[in-house]
C-alpha cells in the first residue's frame, strides 16, 4: 500500500488519519456522555479534563487531515454509483469535516466561557477563546451538544452507507479505506 492515495485506494496516511479520528471521536463521545452525567466530583473533573484535551487533539488532527487531503485528492468513487449518491457522498464528507471542526471548537468556547480553561493533558495551558460569560457558556453548551448529536447521526449514516457498499452493492467503495483487503464474497 502506498503512502499517498491512488485512484483506487486511500494511502497509508489518509487511512491513518481516518481510523485515528474515528477511534478518537468514538472514545470522545463515550467520555463526554459519561462525564456530563456524573455529579460534581473528582472523577467528573478528571474525565472532562481528558475530554477537553482529546477534543483539541481531534481538532488538530482534522486540520492536518484536511491539509493532507488538499495535497492528495481522494480516490474516485465507483463509476457504478448514480449521480445522486456521488452528490450525497460529497455532501456527507464535507459536513463531516465541518462538524469535526465546529464541535470541538464549540467545546473549547464552552470551556472558555465557563471559566474552566484547558490544560492540554497537563502539559501546557491552552488559551481561552472568550472570557468568562454565563450566557455565552449556555449558548456554546447548546451548540456543542447539538453539533455532537449531528456528528453522531452522521457517523451512523456513514457506517450504514459503507456497509451497504460492501455487503449489498459489493462495489469496493468501503475497501478503499481498509488497510487489508478481505476476500470478496464473489
Amino acid at each position: 500500500m502506498n503512502l499517498r492515495n491512488s485512484t483506487e485506494s486511500y494511502g497509508i496516511i489518509a487511512q491513518t488519519f481516518h481510523w485515528l479520528v474515528a477511534l478518537l471521536v468514538l472514545a470522545q463521545l463515550g467520555i463526554g456522555l459519561y462525564a456530563a452525567n456524573l455529579p460534581v466530583s473528582v472523577a467528573r473533573l478528571r474525565w472532562l479534563s481528558h475530554h477537553k484535551s482529546l477534543g483539541l487533539a481531534i481538532l488538530a488532527l482534522v486540520l492536518l487531515r484536511l491539509g493532507w487531503r488538499a495535497l492528495n485528492p481522494p480516490p474516485e468513487l465507483a463509476r457504478s454509483m448514480p449521480r445522486w449518491e456521488r452528490l450525497a457522498a460529497l455532501a456527507t464528507h464535507r459536513l463531516f469535516y465541518l462538524l469535526l471542526i465546529l464541535a470541538p471548537l464549540c467545546g473549547w468556547l464552552y470551556a472558555s466561557a465557563s471559566g474552566l480553561s484547558v490544560n492540554w493533558f497537563g502539559m501546557f495551558k491552552v488559551p481561552d477563546l472568550v472570557s468568562k460569560d454565563r450566557e455565552l457558556a449556555a449558548l456554546f453548551k447548546a451548540l456543542h451538544i447539538g453539533l455532537v448529536a449531528l456528528l453522531a447521526s452522521l457517523v451512523a449514516l456513514h457506517v450504514a452507507a459503507a456497509l451497504r457498499h460492501e455487503l449489498v452493492l459489493r462495489d469496493g467503495v468501503m475497501r478503499r479505506m481498509l488497510p487489508w483487503k478481505p476476500p470478496s464474497g464473489d
Partner: protein, 180 residues
C-alpha cells in the same frame, strides 16, 4: 513664633486622634478567589461580606471581617451548590468565615494584619497584607493573600487530592469603608 506653638496649631487642625471605626461595604467591593483546577486557574467570588476596621492615631489598629460562604458565585450553578456542601464550606454548620486581627503593622504604604482566620471552625494564624487607598472620597481597603485550603478542610474526602484541585487559594479583596 516658637516652634512648639506651631506644632500645637497644626495638630489642632488635624482630625481628632480618637478611635475611628468604619464599616466594610460589600457594595462596590469584592472578595474573589482563584485556585487551580486540572492545571488551569478557576475563579469565583463571595457576594456577602462585611466587618469593621478601626483607626487609632491615624494607624489601622483593628480589623474584624466576615463573609458568608453561601454567597459564593463561580458562574457555574452546579459548582456553587457543591461548594456549599459539607466537603467544602459546609454553609449549614458554618455560615460565616471570619478574620480578626491581633496586630497591625504599617510598613510604608503597605500594612500587615496578623490574626486568626476561622473557616469551618478551624482557627489558624494568618497574615494578611493590605493597603489603604481612597475612592470617591471614601477610604478603600484592598489586598491579597494565599492560603492552603487543606489547612481549613475545604475540600475533604476525595477533594483532598490536590492533583485535580490545587491546594493553594489566592484571595483578592477590595472594599470601601463607611464611617460608623
Amino acid at each position: 513664633m516658637p516652634r512648639f506653638l506651631l506644632v500645637l496649631l497644626v495638630s489642632a487642625a488635624l482630625p481628632a486622634a480618637a478611635d475611628e471605626c468604619y464599616s466594610v461595604d460589600a457594595a462596590g467591593g469584592s472578595v474573589s478567589f482563584e485556585l487551580g483546577q486540572a492545571g488551569s486557574p478557576f475563579r469565583g467570588a463571595f457576594r456577602r461580606f462585611g466587618g469593621e476596621l478601626c483607626i487609632v492615631q491615624s494607624q489601622v489598629a483593628r480589623i474584624d471581617v466576615w463573609l458568608e460562604p453561601a454567597s459564593v458565585e463561580t458562574g457555574l450553578p452546579e459548582i456553587d451548590a457543591a461548594l456549599k456542601e459539607k466537603e467544602f464550606f459546609d454553609v449549614g454548620g458554618h455560615p460565616r468565615i471570619a478574620f480578626a486581627s491581633e496586630s497591625v503593622q504599617a510598613r510604608g504604604d503597605r500594612q500587615l494584619a496578623r490574626g486568626v482566620l476561622d473557616i469551618k471552625g478551624k482557627r489558624r494564624n494568618a497574615e494578611v497584607p493590605f493597603r489603604m487607598g481612597e475612592s470617591g472620597g471614601k477610604p478603600v481597603v484592598s489586598g491579597s493573600f494565599t492560603l492552603d485550603r487543606l489547612d481549613y478542610g475545604i475540600g475533604s474526602g476525595e477533594w483532598a487530592d490536590t492533583r485535580w484541585l490545587g491546594a493553594e487559594v489566592k484571595i483578592d479583596f477590595s472594599a470601601t469603608l463607611s464611617r460608623r
